[in-house]
């Protein structure tokens, strides 16, 4: 782990910088800390951070950029005729990367030496064998072009890592020395350090933006790749989903969207009335003791991981629905069904809806209740005719948020809804959702360039856009609602 040791060295340098910076500042003030502009610690921090931060930033940046640069170089090395008909440049590149990684592993383990390595040629049949031994499984024997590319890939990476180590250490040392030399009792160390910290704080806050950007870009690029291979019209309006790993797949999103929306609808049908009514009951009717017991218990439902709900659907709810409803009614024989997933997801959403509604109902001013009760309305008339209409925008916002949750939920549908994509009305039939298909297309051994895999990114992007739209709308509505009563 050279990077690890590199970080340790920078860390030590920074610690040393702290101590020596502090000492130098004190020395410049003849040991009288009152004569310093800032507290001695700030001088120490100034030197320490000057050594640490730029070096770490460079390290991170380098680690991110090096693979890109090297990929670029190596890709141009591979001649066009070295790419088989059935493959793409990207696939060959991933082979190159794996072989390079394998070779690196072989050298590290001492299986072959650095000299033997440079003399390796593709005619040695045991390359694949030796690579397999250290866990790098290849689909076919290594072709000479690939081996050559892999070797230069390895060479470049090693050179790059070396250069990085040197540069990072230089930067750290430079930061150390510069800050150390500037240390003087008149240096405004506190202001410098505080400005530096502020920059770090801004950087931390910007990670939210980077994450969103990462999400959008990662899905956008692969989706564009997908739409190059598969027409967008067929994807968005196709009513048939039958991926076929030999090609010629039908990848229409409509059956998946239908399953997603159907299940979410049933989930909301369960969660909204129960969640809303229990929020109303607990905030308007229940005594203090009942509230103290029941409210946290319902919130426990929110803390249970979705995999647990998934297993509950698979083991308990599914068979129960099949044996007591679907089969007697002649509606189906499947224990995974829209109903199973919908009911369980509904239970999962109860605490979500109820705590959101609780907040919203409590935001309705007491004067509104007084006004209605003062006219002789009963509590339930007040709730139904004054509070709920007043809270309606907020409740709609909460329901939209719950819907976005339901649409994006994965584990419950993976375990409870089934894998068959169909457009059907029977709720006891197994159907599938967008999220289930993202999981199934991206797990297992898949060819990363085929439309059958890339479709997952297009599905993910669709899912992201739908939930984002719902969230933005819901947050907007809820915010408007809150402002109304503030």
């Amino acid at each position: 782990m050279p990077v690890f040791w590199l970080i340790v060295i920078i860390g030590l340098l920074a610690a040393g910088g702290y101590v020596s910076g502090r000492a130098r500042a004190l020395a410049s003030a003849d040991g009288d800390r009152r004569r310093l502009h800032s507290l001695p610690n700030f001088y120490g921090l100034n030197v320490g951070l000057s050594a640490l931060v730029p070096a770490l930033l460079l390290l991170i940046l380098w680690t991110l950029l090096q693979p890109m640069v090297i990929d670029q170089r190596i890709t141009s090395i591979i001649p066009d005729d070295a790419i088989p008909e059935t493959s793409t440049r990207g696939l060959v590149m991933s082979d190159v990367r794996r072989v390079a990684g394998g070779l690196e592993g072989l050298v590290n383990l001492g299986v072959i030496s650095e000299e033997e390595m440079s003399e390796l040629s593709a005619s040695d049949n045991d390359i694949r064998q030796s690579l397999a031994e250290i866990g790098v499984a290849l689909g076919a024997d290594v072709r000479p072009e690939v081996l050559e590319a892999a070797q230069s890939y390895r060479e470049w990476s090693n050179r790059g890592t070396m250069a990085m180590t040197v540069c990072v250490l230089l930067v750290a040392a430079a930061g150390f020395v510069l800050a150390y030399l500037r240390t003087d009792r008149n240096l405004r160390a506190r202001n410098i350090v505080e400005r530096g910290i502020l920059v770090l704080l801004v950087a931390a806050a910007s990670i939210a933006i980077l994450t969103t950007l990462g999400i959008v870009l990662s899905m956008l690029f692969e989706s564009i790749n997908f739409f190059r291979q598969y027409p967008a019209v067929q994807f968005f309006f196709g009513t048939n989903w039958s991926p076929n790993f030999r090609g010629n797949s039908d990848l229409g999103i409509l059956p998946l969207l239908w399953g997603t929306l159907y299940i979410s609808f049933i989930a909301l049908l369960v969660a909204v009335p129960i969640g809303l009514m229990s929020a109303i009951y607990l905030s308007e009717y229940a005594g203090r003791r009942m509230r103290a017991v029941a409210k946290p218990m319902i919130e426990v439902l929110a803390g249970i991981p979705t995999i647990v709900y998934g297993l509950f659907a698979l083991l308990t709810v599914g068979p129960l629905l099949r044996d007591y409803f679907a089969q007697p009614l002649g509606l189906g024989n499947s224990s995974s069904s829209v109903m199973t997933a919908g009911l369980v997801m509904g239970v999962m959403l109860i605490p979500f809806v109820s705590s959101l509604s609780d907040d919203i109902i409590n935001a309705v001013p007491q004067s509104m209740r007084d006004g209605s009760l003062g006219l002789g309305a009963t509590k339930s008339e007040t709730i139904r005719q004054v509070i709920v209409p007043a809270a309606l925008p907020g409740i709609v916002g909460a329901v939209l948020l719950a819907a976005s949750r339901a649409i994006g939920e994965t584990m419950i549908v993976v375990l409870g809804a089934g894998a068959a994509a169909r457009l059907d009305l029977n709720p006891f039939e197994a159907m599938t959702t967008v999220t289930v298909k993202i999981v199934s297309q991206l797990t297992g051994d898949t060819n990363f360039a085929s439309p059958e895999t890339l479709v997952a990114f297009a599905l993910g992007l669709t899912l992201f856009v739908i939930t984002l739209a719902l969230n933005v709308l819901a947050l907007y509505i809820v915010r408007r609602y809150r402002e109304q009563y503030e």
Binding site: E222, I298, T378, L442
Partner: protein, 447 residues
């Protein structure tokens, strides 16, 4: 009388006798209240049914059937060269130990006077798990000097035998099952009477690594728990400082401008992005682009960090907000810089709230499954990852993913194990949440 003044108003009614309409309205009131109570009860009922069903399904995973046998570690089989050289002994693979277990079973049956018609020695030995030979082999490799002696071993019973004592396999079902015969079950019963076969608490379930499809009895959560622990460590180390730093900026320093607005909107939206989308991000950015290894805790940890950040930021900002402005004013008033007032006064006061939010965020991350599926953590991993930091890059599993993994296997014994694993997961979550509640109760300040 002053009748004239009353004209136009309805006839006076007594408030002591409810009129028909009031009675009807009160009935509606009672009905409405009853609906509310029903809703609350339904919610609670769902919780109870959920927990009870998991408990019933999963309790069995913590008890396992063991068979005690005296295994002869015969030198002819294990050390044909006779020089006790560990390298030579290691050459005998697990398969070679099957004969020893067969002998041991035969001896046991003879000693206990058990004979079952239609059960040959091989089938009799098959009631012991196929994991047993590996278990004996590891012992021999660790203690080569024991070769030639007879040692007592507690060996795992075959999963079907275990299932028989848990009620999943019956004599009737064994007739139709190619993996187990009624004779074997009778042998197991006889051994139980003899005391050689016992059921007891199964620590191996917590400590063992996963096992293959054929050996549910040996499957454990060791790798998964370690993998989850590594990821939680990464999340804690990354998400806490970044989250706190971001919150401090947004709450204390950020000017009201477009940039701040964009960050705010981003955070509230990220909190609601489906978790599977983070999985896609992890796959595309951390694995395909940055080239980090699949199935590694580092990738899982990074993905979960990004997922947890909004939770931590939101709760940290709430606790920063709850520190009254007078504290800041007081610090600024004695000449502290803005930065000093935040780090010396506001942050320590907000710390309990931040910690509570962090623990709750970690608990969420611990239970998260979907994104981990996409970054390859479903892979079958039997090797324990190394110690950190190298171990962060080794393949590992995670608790919730292991649960999912087991639900996808055919043998019903894995369903029991999945439910058992959920109990373990829920115990961890309960501990974390209790810790959060205790922290909040103990340090909560009201201003």
């Amino acid at each position: 009388m002053t009748d004239a003044a009353h004209s136009g108003s309805p006839p006076r009614s007594s408030i002591l006798t409810p009129d028909a309409r009031t009675r009807k309205r009160n009935a509606a009131e009672a009905r409405f209240k009853y609906y509310g109570l029903t809703a609350v009860c339904l919610g609670l009922l769902a919780l109870v049914v959920l927990l009870v069903s998991i408990a019933i399904n999963g309790a069995g995973a913590f008890r396992q059937t063991y068979i005690t046998l005296d295994v002869p570690l015969s030198a002819e089989v294990l050390d044909p060269e006779g020089n006790r050289n560990p390298a030579d002994i290691a050459r005998v693979i697990s398969f070679g130990y099957d004969a020893l277990i067969e002998d041991a079973m035969e001896a046991k049956m003879a000693e206990a006077g058990i004979s079952i018609d239609g059960l040959d020695a091989g089938d009799a030995a098959d009631i012991v798990s196929s994991e047993a030979s590996a278990q004996v082999r590891y012992f021999v490799l660790a203690n080569p000097e024991e070769v030639g002696t007879v040692r007592e071993f507690d060996l795992l019973a075959n999963g079907r035998i275990d299932a028989f004592f848990k009620g999943r396999v019956t004599m009737a079902s064994a007739e139709r099952d190619s993996n187990v015969s009624p004779e074997q079950l009778r042998l197991a019963e006889a051994l139980k009477e003899d005391g050689a076969l016992v059921q007891r608490f199964n620590w191996n379930f917590i400590t063992n690594p996963d096992a293959s499809d054929q050996r549910p009895e040996a499957a454990g959560l060791g790798v998964a728990i370690l993998g989850s622990a590594y990821m939680m460590l990464i999340v804690l180390v990354l998400a806490l400082p970044i989250g706190v730093a971001a919150s401090i900026y947004l709450e204390e320093f950020a000017p009201k401008n477009r940039f701040t607005d964009i960050i705010e909107v981003n955070i509230s939206n990220l909190a609601a992005v489906p978790s599977i989308v983070f999985g896609i991000l992890g796959l595309a950015i951390f694995i395909n682009w940055a080239g980090l290894p699949q199935s590694a805790p580092i990738v899982g940890g990074l993905v979960l960090t990004l997922m947890t950040l909004p939770t931590i930021i939101i709760s940290t900002r709430a606790s920063l907000k709850s520190v009254p402005p007078s504290i800041r004013a007081a610090a600024l008033g004695v000449g502290a810089s803005k930065m000093q007032s935040v780090f010396h006064h506001v942050l320590p006061l907000a710390a309990p709230g931040i910690l509570t939010g962090t623990i709750i965020g970690l608990a969420q991350a611990l239970g998260e499954t979907a994104p981990l599926l996409l970054i390859g953590m479903v892979a079958f991993v039997r090797e324990f990852p190394d110690a950190p930091p190298d171990g962060f890059f080794d393949p590992a599993s995670a608790l919730p993913v292991q649960i999912y993994n087991w639900t996808q296997r055919a043998d019903p014994a894995f369903v029991e194990r999945a439910s058992g694993a959920i109990i373990v997961l829920l115990v961890f979550l309960a501990i974390m949440n209790t810790l959060a509640i205790v922290l909040r109760r103990r340090f909560e300040r009201r201003w």
